[in-house]
Symmetry: C2
Subunit: 201 residues, 2 copies
């Protein structure tokens, strides 16, 4: 009974998510269809509907994984006392851009309109994404307080604007509007400089 597939897959939910991630990485968002996904997993076109309400729910689940990975990146990229603020900011900017460039479809899914505007995001995804943003905001607040304990800035707005800059850079990179190759290090450097001046008031 090793060659024959059982009628019940047994672990279809996880298999679907994993294969979807693979297809996403290889062919982008447009290349991911439920039919192709079913075939890749060795299951019928509509089998996924017994584990996800619809395609949107599957995309939301993938995006949510992405936010967990983003949280992981932010948690592991802390400002150690031995490095300068400038170096740390550069590292953070480079790390964020790499996160987007190494998994473009995942980043697109996490922040793109496919989920957030065209369809309704899962409430689970909404809370996860919100947590990411809140964590980022706390980190910004920390930085501000360390630099200048009497700063006047609104941490929420600082987070909004600075994240928007990072996000804009990523979008221009991913959408092929800026060159993706050697420009990137220069642009990262410049973005870190901008952030640094901004945080120092």
């Amino acid at each position: 009974m090793t060659t024959k597939q059982p009628y019940h897959h047994g672990n279809l939910y996880e298999a679907l998510l994993q294969e979807a991630d693979t297809i996403l990485q290889r062919e982008g968002i447009e290349g991911l269809s439920l039919r192709k996904l079913g075939e890749a997993v060795g299951v019928s076109r509509t089998a996924a509907y017994h584990h996800f309400a619809n395609k949107n729910a599957l995309l939301c689940a993938l995006a949510e994984e992405g936010f967990h990975q983003l949280n992981h990146f932010m948690r592991e990229t802390q400002w150690h006392a031995e490095t300068s603020l400038n170096d740390y900011l550069l590292l953070f900017v480079q790390g964020y851009l790499s996160f987007a460039i190494e998994h473009p479809a995942r980043y697109e899914l996490m922040f793109g309109r496919a989920i957030w505007q065209r369809m309704e995001p899962t409430s689970s995804l909404k809370t996860t994404a919100h947590q990411s943003f809140r964590y980022y905001t706390e980190r910004m607040e920390q930085l501000l307080s360390t630099i200048n304990p009497q700063h006047q800035k609104n941490p929420l707005q600082v987070a909004q604007v600075s994240w928007a800059m990072l996000h804009g850079l990523c979008r221009f990179m991913l959408d092929g509007i800026y060159g993706t190759q050697k420009d990137m290090s220069h642009v990262s450097q410049e973005a870190a400089t901008m952030l640094s001046h901004y945080l120092h008031q």
Copy 2:
């Protein structure tokens, strides 16, 4: 013969562009299909193919119009000597965000991956978009020179990073990740502040 449509529309190219823009405004990018467009104009599903190579070419034409409008906005928003740099920057940021928010689908088309990554942009669109960016870069260079004639910055990188910030803000607004309403003025203010500090070194 006023009630009966002639076999030859006579002005189909313009009519298609205009109606496509209307649908885009009303229903977004996903709501625009060639079949629906044909019906709206009173013509068959495939009539558009005699005026555009394919759907991508039509989208590119619409996006190109958008870049002309963006150029118009930039040209008319100049820094007059009687206003402060801060006021001017705020005006520019607000104007740019309004440009995106008032015509979200058009902005999405101009900068989104639908054209730039998923398909191949028309060479005509490419040059028009490139002109927009070059003009923006020149304006930045002007500002830098006015503020400090001995500045050390690379205008191209300044343009890349600052435009990325504006673009990121727009995307977050349009994709419904940031609140679109009263936050906007605060965020605009903060973005202008950030830009100002950055340009002043």
